[in-house]
Amino acid sequence: MNPLPAEEFVHKCTTACAGCTSSLSLRYILKAAGPDTVLVVPACCTAVLQGVYPATAMNVTVYNIAFAAAAATASGMAAAFRRAGRATNVICYAGDGGTVDIGIQALSGALERGTDFLYICYDNEAYGNTGMQRSGATPIGAITTTTPGGKTDAKKDIDRIVAAHSIPYMATACAAYPQDLYAKVKKALSIPGPKFIHLLSPCPPGWRYSAERSVEVGKLAVKTGLWMLYEREHGELRINPVSKAAMKRPAPVEEYLKVQGRFKGISDQAKGALVAAMEQNHRRLLAEEAGTC
């Protein structure tokens, strides 16, 4: 274990739910980023959990902006900072809805035009701030308030969409692996240009498990191989050892599903689709790592 900086940028007065992993992750992200950082936050849980004016739980500048606008705001901000000769980290911290749905156009634009920023999508696989409605990132079979019978469509593969922009650095991470997240944020911020981290953020109220099980659920996501940890630096893919192990000796998918109320009564068909998508993801990543794709 690497010793992490003691300095805290997320104080213990957020209004986050018990067991919230996005606020937990933010703590590590900001430890990695340090004080010369602006967090650009669109509508999402983080817009609310940072506190109520005039108080804030955050000890870095947080710029709140409209739902679809995070990445574009970062483009302007990064341009202004660089002009002023400042190396300030511009980090978008956006939920899955603000990334894969309403914010995807601005994200794609910022990635394409080479904005010097880090975009972190914390993915709890639904619109958490509005009470868990389906998003494009919701996995098939998951119950949300707008998919009461379970989602019938597959999770949008934002990573492949981002990868198609050929940015210098992108990675996946999981809130249950904070050291890995810390290291990836550190590396991302050392590279100029657009960077992207897709962070799986288990969500007790949304996923319907008890608050103390967040880390366990996150680890299960990785150990089943459903959530793959990797990074892609200048096109070079590196799969985390834990995910390599999961591909060889995966924990049963059922273990991940059964601890979450959102998958209660999931159909065999949906479960089959989840597993098929997972296996296809493994094949793609392995082929890419082997240089055969």
Binding site: G51, N59, V62, N64, G76, R83, G109, R113
Partner: protein, 368 residues
């Protein structure tokens, strides 16, 4: 320097003179020439700015907000659907007190597609907290753009400013233009609430009902204060550069019995109509409104008023007619003309005056 230019080129030249640090823009007819010109200035090195080629107008305004918050002077330009696509971010820019300056080349809204002049695009943004000025000549487009930066960035204002010019009618017309050496007319950009890494703050944090309205009141207080700032800025501009602009441009109004009120190029064409009417013995005058937000304080008491609206609020009426009625108490003859570039000549305007019926609404070209 005396030269010739189109309305678009004049706006670009003024924006360049203001030395913005960040320009974020997206092309749309008939504005495109402005951002092409600015991109060219940046590419050739005559303007030291970052041109951020965004993928939409929503992102253009978002990028301007981000850049402004980070301490850079920002400029953008749009038209019509681009302005509408920005709508959310227009509210945000004003609420965030980012003094963005934007040219809006007024154009009608679809469907069907129409790229010609209309003011409904800008009027649809009237409650966003932006100052809005409407210009009628290439020179005025230049002057108003320069002044917009000084007004927006004044600490008593700190609200964004929209410079409106009629699509094609003004954006693409070639007229003479006298450019100026702006000198220190526009002070260096200073945003008192710019992001300061040494003093981290939350911007736009969740704001509860017992506080939120205070921010709104502060915007209105600044909007009211902007009248004085505009007047000061226009006076200073006149002192330095010799051209005086005001809330309205009045033409032969002193002894007028009937006043034509219009915006943009129609307001200029109306002056020709006034001359024609005067030859017929009609004591007509023209009052071209320049500022729409803040809405000017007008004295129209004791006169008949013909308001030409190049816009419409469905189920309500012409926006200008209602604005005049509600702010002056004068009941106008409301003419709806020039929508989507509908040709309106000085003869037509003279006829509106001749046929005026106080309290009535008349749609030009609609027979029933």
């Amino acid at each position: 320097m005396l030269t010739i230019a189109t309305g678009n080129k004049a706006v670009a030249a003024a924006a360049k003179e203001a030395r913005p640090g960040v320009i974020a823009a997206y092309p749309i007819t008939p504005q495109t020439e402005i951002v092409e010109q600015l991109a060219t200035y940046v590419a050739e090195g005559s303007l030291d700015a970052d041109y951020v080629p965004v993928e939409s107008e929503h992102s253009a305004m978002a990028a301007c907000i981000g850049a402004s918050a980070a301490g850079a002077r920002t400029f953008t330009a749009t038209s019509s659907h681009g302005l509408l696509y920005m709508h959310e971010m227009l509210h945000w820019a004003a609420g965030a007190r980012t003094p963005v300056v934007m040219a809006n080349v007024n154009r009608a809204l679809g469907p069907g597609w129409n790229t010609w002049a209309e003011h409904t695009d800008a009027f649809s943004q009237r409650d966003t907290g932006w100052l809005q000025v409407f210009v009628a000549t290439v020179q005025e487009a230049y002057d108003a753009t320069l002044m917009a930066f000084r007004i927006a960035e004044d600490e008593r204002v700190l609200l964004p400013v929209m410079v409106n010019l009629d699509g094609f009618a003004l954006s693409h017309i070639t007229q003479s233009l006298e450019t100026v050496d702006v000198g220190d007319f526009i002070p260096p950009f200073h945003l008192p609430h710019a992001i300061d890494i040494a003093h981290p703050r939350g911007y736009g944090t969740l704001t509860p009902p017992d506080i939120y309205f205070k921010f709104r009141w502060d915007m209105e207080r600044s909007m009211r204060a902007s009248r004085e700032v505009i007047a000061e800025t226009e006076a200073e501009f006149a002192r330095r550069f010799g051209r005086l602009w005001g809330p309205t441009e009045d033409y032969r109004c002193e002894d007028a019995d009937v006043v034509v009120v219009a915006l943009g190029t129609l307001g200029k064409e109306a002056e020709v109509a006034v001359d024609k009417l005067r030859e017929e013995g009609v004591k007509a005058g023209s009052m071209r409104l320049r500022w729409f937000r803040p809405f000017p304080i007008l004295d129209l008491a004791g006169r008949e008023v013909v308001v030409i609206d190049r816009d419409y609020s469905f189920g309500f009426g012409g926006v200008m007619a209602h604005s005049i009625r509600s702010t002056t108490g004068v009941e106008p003859y409301s003419v709806i003309a020039g929508l989507g570039g509908q040709e309106v000549t000085y003869d037509d305007i003279a006829q509106f005056v001749r046929q005026r019926e106080v309290g009535r609404e008349f749609w030009f070209g609609v027979s029933d």
